[in-house]
Symmetry: C2
Subunit: 198 residues, 2 copies
DNA sequence: AGTCATGTCTACCAGATGGTAGACAGTCAT
DNA sequence: ATGACTGTCTACCATCTGGTAGACATGACT
């Protein structure tokens, strides 16, 4: 049954969800194998160790998110607020449909410094371009003046936090319905844009 | 050596840090015992199981944070923006000095629903009072009009996110110096207040 | 047909983990 | 002094976990 890399993909997908939702250390290879419907050794066949599986998962996640964001930025008009809104909209869908994606990114802070550094380097060019852009726009008076890097970090924290902590929403009794989600999106965008507006 | 609950306190404190920083499942009882300088069985003497230790840790953390916030709210003047600023200032110190505190709260979303629900109920009265207050102030035009509950969740997400993800700050090359922290605090406050202002 | 590569499996192992049982040493009330 | 209580420890144990070794099946190449 040489069905190409189908098994491999399935393992990656299941790993993103499990790692992102429960945390890396709370997930065993058996758990992953169980979800995929395969023996543990098959997981270890495709990824020689949990460590390397994690590497692959992180890389793919970063790539997925980067692609989504990149596309949103390209498609949006030049106005910074509209661009930010476009990015937020683009990120919102995967964020709420698969909170594990952002949960995984959040998880990075508790992994080994090596993982963290790798991901940091991977994001570096995006961050640099974004900060430069924000700095320009601040100088042009189209954004509130602040440290551009920190502004990115804060906006990121807001989005990631709200997407990965369903309990926070439950605590304020936010409805988990479809319309609740739509409303959440507009309010999230309003919140961040209000924070960025000059 | 009957030194009261000293050992118990030490275990709780070490557990907050370890659970909050590394995640609950990544911390073994041996780890905790090692930090406290005691045998594992001593940990299990004070808390009959890891589960119950976690319960105690969560409850104490919630209490600590609630106390800090409560005091800040009481001391601040009636203006909502000033109150929010006071709370942010009050929370910032423990947040950056012991990121584990907020990290633990963040961890709740990946624990059992029972834990989550307990904490949710514990926070309920605070949330209710806060939403009522925000609603009033919005009606009076002193805050941007939005869903008050969601506003709380978003502000919480921003603060918790920035405090518990040192890697996000490193990614934008924020200096981890003393003055960097002070500056972070003022920028964080500016960001949130800008998001709340009418 | 025979050889090799690929993908999956079962069987197993060493170490870690949560938890149990019970010994041992102080302290305190009688 | 004695016995009960408290707090800590050592010695184990069953289970889980990441990982190894190697068998087995399928198909591709020669």
């Amino acid at each position: 049954m040489t069905r190409r890399g189908k098994t491999r993909e399935a393992i990656l997908e299941a790993s993103v969800d499990l790692f992102g939702n429960r945390g890396v250390s709370a997930v065993s290879l058996d758990d992953i194998a169980g979800v995929v419907g395969v023996a543990k050794q098959t997981v270890l066949y495709w990824f020689p160790s949990k460590e390397e599986l994690l590497d692959a998962v992180l890389e793919q996640t970063a790539l997925e998110l980067a692609t989504v964001i990149e596309a949103a930025v390209r498609a949006a008009p030049d106005d910074p607020l509209q661009r930010v809104e476009a990015v937020l909209r683009a990120v919102f869908r995967p964020a709420v449909r698969r909170p594990a994606l952002l949960g995984l990114v959040r998880e990075v802070s508790r992994l080994s410094p090596a993982h963290a550094e790798r991901l940091t380097l991977q994001v570096q060019p995006f961050v640099r371009r974004a900060t430069d852009y924000l700095r320009e726009q601040m100088a042009a008076g189209r954004l509130r003046t602040a440290d551009p890097g920190l502004m990115i970090a804060l906006a990121y924290a807001t989005v990631t936090g709200i997407a990965t902590e369903p309990e926070a929403l439950r605590a304020v009794q936010w409805p988990a319905t479809q319309s609740g989600l739509r409303r959440l999106r507009t309010e999230l965008i309003d919140f961040v844009l209000a924070a960025l507006r000059p």
